[in-house]
Structure formats: structure tokens, C-alpha cells
């Protein structure tokens, strides 16, 4: 058995290297596609190995170039990082496949692949970064790549949306950088581990600096992860992007920034500090507002992709809620939801993209009878939608169960009620989608299913929805360890 020591950095390096080679292969499209998929596959395998290794042997620390902290750059792969990077690699592999086989939506295919690779590399970097400045660098890369994969569609709406996203995201980066500077001022370190040790002493001496840093960080990363009311860029951006980009952005990218926030705010600043500041209460309120407002806005949408985008706002609220309730089960629920929302939202965005491409319909009210024309695609959409509502037997139920139990554990029954209320609202906006598609007159007899290669990712994700809904115990150890890291 070869050593896995270098595996974490390899994951980032493979993706980055591929990102720079793929654009050169414009003339050799097949090779470019093979390289694109190959890189994704290789990284997925590595992330499985890393996750297994972390479960067996505990946290892996990798010093880039052999330089140890405080001078060198460290990658720290604990259970949290291993888990999230597993989610990123598996979901992005499915999206890679879709991007390769689905009908073209963008002009420069190789450029698009390169941007996706860059984004994925940056996401892995964010979750594994051991020092806060590298984290910032990866956040910047991913923000720019995320903006680019929206604009790449080239329509007026998508450029407008990506421009708005760029400006808000840049503001967020500024906030993040400022908070990093403040923390560096107080501690003299950028390495998260050393920072935490120093903060235990110095936080009491400079309370104002730490408080300001935390505030800027929450706002900075809050903008990027679309925490209500900082979400205003999201619906346009996610609704107007190409299908694969929407899936990537809604399914993975927003969550990576939440992970970054958790890594800095919880695991670096430390729980004691966190309890002293009102940030937790503020996050609870914002998360609750996100859940309610996201659902209410989603109800009034007729455009399917905008509906899905607003639903993401609400679902991001679930994750924040779980992390800020802070009981063991609530955090487990939030950790679950990172995976489960990634699965179901990716599924829905891809499937809806397929439907829009095959039929040309973008609105729910136009879908009459399409369920009979595209049975497999709509079976997948139905599963995804049931899971979003949290019907037992689907994955969405598991995170709802843990979050609601967690809210009760935290002694806050009102949040359990809120979670359930939000499920009811999701039912109100997701069920019309299914009902319109299956019942009523058949309006579009000419619409057909896409090729099997395009449907494969949908089917894989739909099976995952069922699988985690019925036997979540497979991933439970990793989720437990992750939650322990956060709540310790």
C-alpha cells in the first residue's frame, strides 16, 4: 500500500494542472474531455482514500514543501475536511460527466471545463487549507471562477447576474481579508492552529479587534454563501447560469463558504469565544429568516430555475441553523445537509436543465403532461422534490430529522417548529411541479427523453437520494466525527 501522505495536495494539484492543460487542447476536444473526466475521477478516488485514512488514523497534516508551520503552508485534513472534500469530489464528478455529455450551452467548451476544474480545485483548497491566508487565496480563486462560469453562457441576463455577483462577492472578499488582517494583528499568526493557541491568551486583551474580525468574517462569507439578507445576488446568478454551473454553484459552492466560516469562526476562534459573542444569536435569527423568506419567495416563482435558486436560500438557512443551534444532533444535521442538499439540488438543477433543453419550457405552468413524455427524468425530479420536502424514505428526511431533533436537544422547540413549517412551504412549491407534470392534459407530444449518457448522472443522484434516505448509517461515522470536531 502506497503512502497517502501526499494525497491531499495531489487533489488540488491534479485539478489545477488539468485546468491549465485543458484550454490548450482546443483542437483535440476528445482528449480534453477525457482529461477533464479523468482528473475528476482521480480526485474522487483520492478523496475516498483520504476519507478512509482519516477515519482510520485521525487527522492528516501536510506541510507543503516540507516547511513546517509557522513558516510553511499547511494542509489540515481532519474529518470535516475529508467529509466535505469527499462530497465535493463525488458531486463534481457527476457534474463533470453531465457537462461533457449534455448538449452544449456555452461557446468555448474547453474554457468552460478549465473554469470548472479551477473552481473545484479551489473548493478542495478551501476545505483543506490549514492557514487562513491560503484559505483566502482559494476563496478568491473560487469566487472568480464562480463568476466566470455564470458569465460564460453569454446571454444578457447571465452577464448582468454575474456582474452583480462579482461586485457583491468582491465586497465579501474585502470583508474577509480585513478580518484576516485584524486576526493577524492580534495573534501574529496565519496558521489556524497557532492562531487558536495564541487567541486563548490574547483574545481577552483585544476583545474589540476579535469582535470586529468576527463581524466582518460573518458578513464577508455570509455574502458568498447567500445567507439571508445577503442573498440578493443568488437567484439571478443561479437561475441564469448554464445547467452544469447552476448545479455546481447551488449544490457545492455556497456550502464551501459555510465550511470556511465554520473552520475559522468555530474551530479557530474557539467555542468559548463564540459563546461570549452574540454572533450565534444573530446567525440563528438570520438562518430562520432565510428559511422562511427563501420559501416564501420560492412559492411565488413560476420559472423553475428561479424556484430552485430561492429554495437554495432556504436550504442554506437550514445549514446555518444547524451550526448555530450547536447541539450535537443539530450540527450532525447541518453536516448531513451539506451532503444531502448537494445531492438533491444538483439532481434537480441537472434534471430541470435537461427538461428545459428538451422541451424549451422554463415555467412550471408549461409542464403539463411532460411526465409521460420524459418518464425517467421526471421520476428523478419527483424523487429530488420529495427529498427537498423531506418525505420519509428520501435523504432530505434524514437531515430534517437530525436538525429537528437537534433543535429540541438545544431546548429550542420553536426552531423545530420552524423547520417543519418550512417543509410544509417546500411542499407547497415543489408539489405543483410534480402534479403539473404527471396529471392534466398532454400538451407536448413531441418532447422526448435525452440520451442515456445525459440521464446517467440524474439516475445516479436519484439512487443516492433513496440510498441515504433508507440507510444513512453508512456515512454516520464520518458525520459524527465531523460534528464532534465542531462541538468539542
Amino acid at each position: 500500500m502506497f503512502s497517502l501522505t501526499h494525497a491531499p495536495i495531489l487533489m488540488v494539484v491534479i485539478l489545477l494542472t488539468a485546468a491549465f492543460i485543458v484550454p490548450l487542447l482546443r483542437k483535440h476536444l476528445l482528449v480534453a474531455k477525457a482529461l477533464f473526466l479523468g482528473a475528476g475521477l482521480l480526485v474522487t478516488i483520492l478523496s475516498f482514500l483520504v476519507a478512509w485514512n482519516v477515519l482510520e488514523n485521525g487527522t492528516m497534516v501536510y506541510n507543503v514543501g516540507g516547511w513546517a508551520a509557522p513558516h510553511g503552508i499547511a494542509l489540515v485534513v481532519d474529518a470535516f475536511a475529508a467529509y466535505v472534500s469527499l462530497v465535493i469530489s463525488v458531486i463534481s464528478l457527476v457534474i463533470f460527466w453531465f457537462a461533457v455529455f449534455a448538449p452544449r450551452e456555452v461557446k468555448h467548451e474547453v474554457g468552460y471545463y478549465a473554469l470548472i476544474l479551477l473552481l473545484t480545485a479551489a473548493m478542495h483548497g478551501i476545505v483543506m487549507a490549514g492557514d487562513i491566508f491560503n484559505l483566502f487565496v482559494f476563496v478568491e480563486i473560487s469566487s472568480l471562477a464562480a463568476v466566470a462560469i455564470i458569465a460564460v453562457k453569454g446571454t444578457k441576463e447571465s452577464i448582468e447576474a454575474s456582474f452583480r455577483y462579482l461586485i457583491l462577492s468582491a465586497l465579501g472578499s474585502g470583508g474577509l481579508l480585513f478580518s484576516i488582517a485584524l486576526l493577524f494583528m492580534v495573534t501574529g499568526h496565519l496558521n489556524m492552529d497557532l492562531m487558536r493557541q495564541t487567541l486563548e491568551v490574547t483574545a481577552g486583551q483585544y476583545p474589540l479587534n476579535v469582535l470586529t474580525a468576527l463581524a466582518f468574517m460573518v458578513v464577508g462569507l455570509g455574502v458568498k454563501s447567500a445567507l439571508f439578507p445577503l442573498h440578493i445576488w443568488l437567484p439571478d446568478a443561479h437561475a441564469n447560469a448554464p445547467t452544469a454551473s447552476s448545479a455546481l454553484l447551488s449544490g457545492l459552492v455556497v456550502k464551501v463558504y459555510i465550511v470556511a466560516l465554520m473552520r475559522i469562526a468555530y474551530m479557530t476562534l474557539g467555542m468559548e469565544l463564540f459563546y461570549l459573542l452574540p454572533i450565534r444569536q444573530i446567525l440563528l435569527v438570520m438562518a430562520s429568516l432565510a428559511i422562511v423568506a427563501g420559501s416564501v419567495f420560492a412559492i411565488v416563482q413560476d420559472n423553475i430555475k428561479r424556484l430552485l435558486a430561492f429554495s437554495t436560500v432556504a436550504q442554506v438557512g437550514y445549514i446555518f441553523l444547524g451550526f448555530s443551534l450547536l447541539s450535537a444532533r443539530a450540527v450532525e444535521g447541518a453536516v448531513w445537509h451539506i451532503l444531502i442538499h448537494a445531492i438533491m439540488k444538483t439532481l434537480l438543477f441537472l434534471a430541470v436543465g435537461v427538461v428545459i433543453h428538451q422541451s424549451g419550457y422554463k415555467k412550471i405552468s408549461q409542464l403539463h403532461g411532460l411526465g409521460r413524455r420524459m418518464p425517467l427524468t421526471f421520476a428523478c425530479i419527483t424523487l429530488g422534490a420529495l427529498s427537498m420536502v423531506g418525505i420519509p424514505g428520501t435523504a432530505g428526511f434524514i437531515s430534517k430529522l437530525y436538525l429537528a431533533l437537534g433543535a429540541l436537544d438545544a431546548g429550542q422547540a420553536i426552531f423545530a417548529v420552524l423547520i417543519l413549517l418550512s417543509s410544509l412551504l417546500s411542499a407547497v412549491y415543489y408539489f405543483p411541479l410534480i402534479i403539473t407534470a404527471y396529471f392534466g392534459h398532454d400538451a407536448s407530444p413531441t418532447v422526448v427523453e435525452p440520451s442515456l449518457a445525459v440521464q446517467l448522472p440524474l439516475v445516479v443522484l436519484a439512487i443516492a437520494v433513496l440510498f441515504y434516505g433508507l440507510m444513512p448509517s453508512i456515512l454516520l461515522p464520518l458525520v459524527r466525527q465531523t460534528a464532534l470536531l465542531i462541538t468539542r
Binding site: 418525505i391 420519509p392 424514505g393 434524514i398 429537528a404 417543519l420 417543509s423 408539489f431 402534479i435 448509517s473
Partner: protein
């Protein structure tokens, strides 16, 4: 591994598997499809019948799967109560499905009806044979959601509207149950049904949980004011589905309430916290309004649906009184109402199937044309009014005795008043159909038999049960109801 092969699990899993099998074979052979759809309830019925001796001997069947969906896990059990209700459900389902194989011939989308009827059966059996609240909740959701497909079967705009109302309310009810279930888990650390209940102290969260249960089960059982979906959803469904909805599925709400009162909270706890009063008030309102509104309905199926609302009030009354005899009445009424209401719906369905007449005023003189159907209807209606020795009388008798045990004359009067109203809305109907003059259409009289046997036989069997069961030396359903109520009150299995 062999745990899966035990009766309660099999009675749930087999219909679930048959759902998939029917879905796969139905495009090749409609005969096989119909046969499998009838087979599913038959197997569940026989399996439960097979465990009858064991349960009667006082042994509770219990199987646990803690590894499925941690931290709550799943479990299945059969005791007196679930045996009785399970037998009733699967038996009525069997008869209704036989009836449906003929009735649905005229309908479209049959390939959707049979699989979903079977899936709904799986959900209903799961609800009844569940050994804990969480399993109960899971199957409750399965049943409620797959029943949606049965309700909107006709796909008319009004069916879709009624279906949407049902869907939203049923999900709200499911969420209330979900909240209550996890709240119970939070309080007690377990959700497994236990004799005498397991919530030691009725705290604030427990009271919230109780009301959440009441809302969740109230929506399912059609308790006023949560009944609003019922009078719209039951009439728009195809008649066999209406029979299942009104006759069988409503009862799962009442069944759940019995479990919650006696096996989760414990009746002393409920009484101590004064929670029984809320049930009694709701029951009284439901009995009165359900019966009163039924009088004003012109559409036969809507009249029957409102009558169901009133009858569910009887059952809630029997639970809320917290008296053994009242509970016997409630449990027996689960059986009695299932038999009566499904025969009424099947008879009404037969009339609509044959003549297309949905309005009561059009039914004059139907008795000459459809003698057997109308006799079945008459027997069931008289039983609803509570004429001895029909089944409806037995439950009313026990309920009245239970009210007296509780020292409450008011409820006896309410029961009498309700019987009076039942009489008002059933008797003129019977009179007109049996003895009234047919409006016109004399020329249409044909020599063909009244109905195919597949539709007649289930109705006749149900009518025979209504007439004969209390003439037996020992009424088997009443016997089981007595044992169940006794066990629930003694706090044993």
C-alpha cells in the same frame, strides 16, 4: 436476517413488493395485474389470521430493527388492537379490490390505480402493525401520499383542487406528527409503544406533543375543524377508493389516537393533565356538525362523507371518555364503521356505475331496478342509525354505557340526537328508493343481471357481516375489542 420473515413485517413488505411487481407486469397482462392486486390484501389478511391464536393466547409479537434510520429505529408488533384493526383493514381492502376489478373497467388510467391502491395498503398495514411512533409516522406518510394518487384519479379540475387541499393538509398533519414524535423522543428517549404509556411527567413539551398528535390525527380522521379536506376528497375519488378512504384510512387517525393516549402517555397521565377534555369537546362538535351537515347534502357521496365525519366523532368520544366500556365502543366502532361505510360507498358506487345518478333526488324507485344493491344500502344505513341487532347498535350501546360510567348524561343525549339525525338523512332516502316511483326511463329496463358478481358479492358479504355478526353466540370482533380495551386499561399487552 430471518427477522424479516415474521408476520407483521411480511404483512407490510409483501404488498410493497407487489406494488413493484404490479407496476412491472401491468403492461403485459391486465388479468395478472388484477389478480395480484387482489392477492396483496388477501395475503396480509391470511398472515394476520395466522397469528390470531398466538395473540389470543396473550402473546405480543414484537420485532425490532434498531439499525434502520438511527437514532429512532423501526419496529413492528401485533397485539389485540392491531390484530383487530389489521384484520378489518385487510378484509375490507380485499372486498373493495375485488369490487374495483369490475368497477374500474369503465375508468381510465387503471394502470395507475392498482399499484397505488396496493402501495396505500402497504402503508396502512405498516401504520397498524408498527411497534413504535416513528415507524407509525413513516408508514403514515407513505399511506397519506400514495392515497393522493387515488383521490385525484379522475383528474377533473375539481378532483385536482380537492387533491391539492388534501395534499397540503395531509403534509401539515404529517409534520405535526413528526414534531410530536421527536418531541416524545426528546422527553422519554424512546418512542416504542409501551403498555400503560411511558411519559412519566406531562411537561410543557409533552402537552405540545399531545396537541400536535391531536392535530395530526385529527386531520387524518376528519375531526372538525380539521375535516375540511374530507367532504371534498372522498366524493371525487372513484367509489372503491372512496370506500377505502372513508371506511379504512380514516380509522388510522383514530387508531393512532388510541396508541398515543394509552401506549404513549398513559390514560392516567392524560386525565391528570386534563387533556381528555379537549378530545371530548372536539368529539362533541364533530358528532353534531358532521351529522347535521350531512342532512343538507344532495350528492350521495358527499352525504356519506359528512356522515363519516360524524362517525369519527363517535370514535374520538369513546377514546376521550377514558372509560373501558367507552373504549370498547370506540374500538368496535372502528370495525363497525369500516364495514358499514364501505358497504354504503360500494352500493352508492354501484348505482353511479350503472346509472350515473349521483344526486339523491334521482334515486327514486331505484330499488326495483337494483334490488340487491339497495337492500345492502338499506341494511348498512339502518345499522348506521343504530337499529339492533345490527353492528352499529353494538358500538352505540357500548359508547352510551361508557358515557354513563363516566357519569356524563350529556353524551348519551348527544348520541341519541346524532342517531336521530342519521335517521333523518338515511330514512327518506331508503323510503324513496325502495318504495318511490321511478321518474321515467321505464323503457330502459333490461333483462341483464343487476350487476356483475364481482361487484355484488363484496357488498353482500359486508351486508351479511352487518346483520349476522352480533347474532353469533360470541361476536368475534366484539371479543377482540373487549380484550384490546382490557389490555390497554390494565397496562398489559
Amino acid at each position: 436476517m430471518f427477522m424479516f420473515l415474521q408476520t407483521p413485517v411480511l404483512a407490510v413488505i409483501i404488498p410493497m413488493v407487489l406494488f413493484a411487481v404490479i407496476y412491472l407486469v401491468e403492461r403485459r397482462s391486465w388479468r395478472l395485474r388484477n389478480a395480484l392486486a387482489v392477492l396483496a390484501p388477501l395475503i396480509s389478511f391470511l398472515l394476520l389470521l395466522g397469528s390470531y391464536p398466538q395473540v389470543i393466547a396473550g402473546e405480543r409479537v414484537f420485532i425490532e430493527f434498531p439499525a434502520i434510520l438511527p437514532p429512532l429505529g423501526m419496529s413492528f408488533s401485533i397485539d389485540y388492537l392491531s390484530l383487530l384493526v389489521g384484520l378489518v383493514v385487510s378484509f375490507v381492502w380485499l372486498l373493495v379490490t375485488i369490487y374495483a376489478t369490475e368497477y374500474m373497467v369503465k375508468e381510465h388510467a387503471k394502470n395507475r390505480y392498482y399499484p397505488f391502491s396496493t402501495l396505500t395498503l402497504a402503508g396502512t398495514m405498516g401504520v397498524i402493525l408498527s411497534g413504535d411512533l416513528f415507524t407509525f409516522f413513516l408508514f403514515f406518510e407513505l399511506m397519506s401520499l400514495s392515497a393522493y394518487v387515488l383521490i385525484v384519479h379522475e383528474e377533473t379540475p375539481e378532483a385536482m383542487r380537492a387533491g391539492y387541499k388534501y395534499l397540503v393538509l395531509t403534509i401539515a398533519g404529517g409534520l405535526a406528527l413528526f414534531f410530536a414524535t421527536i418531541a416524545v423522543f426528546e422527553i422519554a428517549g424512546t418512542v416504542s409503544f409501551a403498555p400503560g404509556g411511558f411519559i412519566a411527567e406531562v411537561s410543557g413539551l409533552a402537552i405540545m406533543a399531545f396537541y400536535a398528535f391531536l392535530i395530526g390525527f385529527g386531520i387524518k380522521a376528519g375531526i372538525v375543524p380539521l375535516h375540511v379536506w374530507l367532504p371534498e376528497a372522498h366524493p371525487v375519488a372513484p367509489s372503491p377508493a372512496s370506500a377505502l378512504l372513508s371506511g379504512v384510512m380514516l380509522k388510522t387517525g383514530a387508531y393512532g389516537m388510541i396508541r398515543v393516549v394509552f401506549n404513549v402517555f398513559g390514560y392516567e397521565g392524560i386525565r391528570g393533565a386534563g387533556l381528555d377534555n379537549s378530545m371530548l369537546v372536539l368529539a362533541a362538535i364533530t358528532i353534531f356538525l358532521g351529522s347535521a351537515v350531512a342532512i343538507s347534502q344532495e350528492d350521495i357521496k358527499r352525504r356519506l362523507a359528512y356522515s363519516s365525519v360524524g362517525q369519527m366523532g363517535y370514535i374520538l368520544l369513546g377514546i376521550g371518555l377514558l372509560q373501558e366500556r367507552a373504549l370498547i365502543g370506540a374500538i368496535f366502532h372502528i370495525f363497525a364503521h369500516a364495514v358499514m361505510k364501505s358497504s354504503l360507498f360500494l352500493a352508492a358506487g354501484a348505482v353511479i356505475h350503472k346509472t350515473g345518478k349521483r344526486r339523491i333526488s334521482e334515486w327514486n324507485g331505484l330499488g326495483q331496478e337494483m334490488t340487491v344493491t339497495m337492500l345492502v344500502f338499506t341494511v348498512a344505513a339502518l345499522s348506521m342509525v343504530g337499529i339492533p341487532p345490527l353492528v352499529g347498535f353494538v358500538s352505540k350501546w357500548e359508547l352510551a354505557l361508557g358515557s354513563l360510567d363516566a357519569g356524563n348524561w350529556g353524551f348519551v343525549l348527544l348520541l341519541l340526537l346524532s342517531s336521530m339525525m342519521n335517521f333523518i338523512y338515511y330514512f327518506p332516502l331508503i323510503q324513496n328508493t325502495l318504495f318511490g316511483k321511478q321518474q321515467a326511463a321505464e323503457g330502459q329496463a333490461s333483462n341483464s343481471p343487476e350487476l356483475p358478481w364481482k361487484m355484488l358479492a363484496p357488498m353482500v358479504v359486508l351486508a351479511l357481516i352487518i346483520v349476522l355478526i352480533d347474532l353469533f353466540p360470541q361476536n368475534p370482533a366484539l371479543d377482540l375489542a373487549k380484550r384490546a380495551a382490557g389490555a390497554l386499561f390494565l397496562g398489559v399487552h
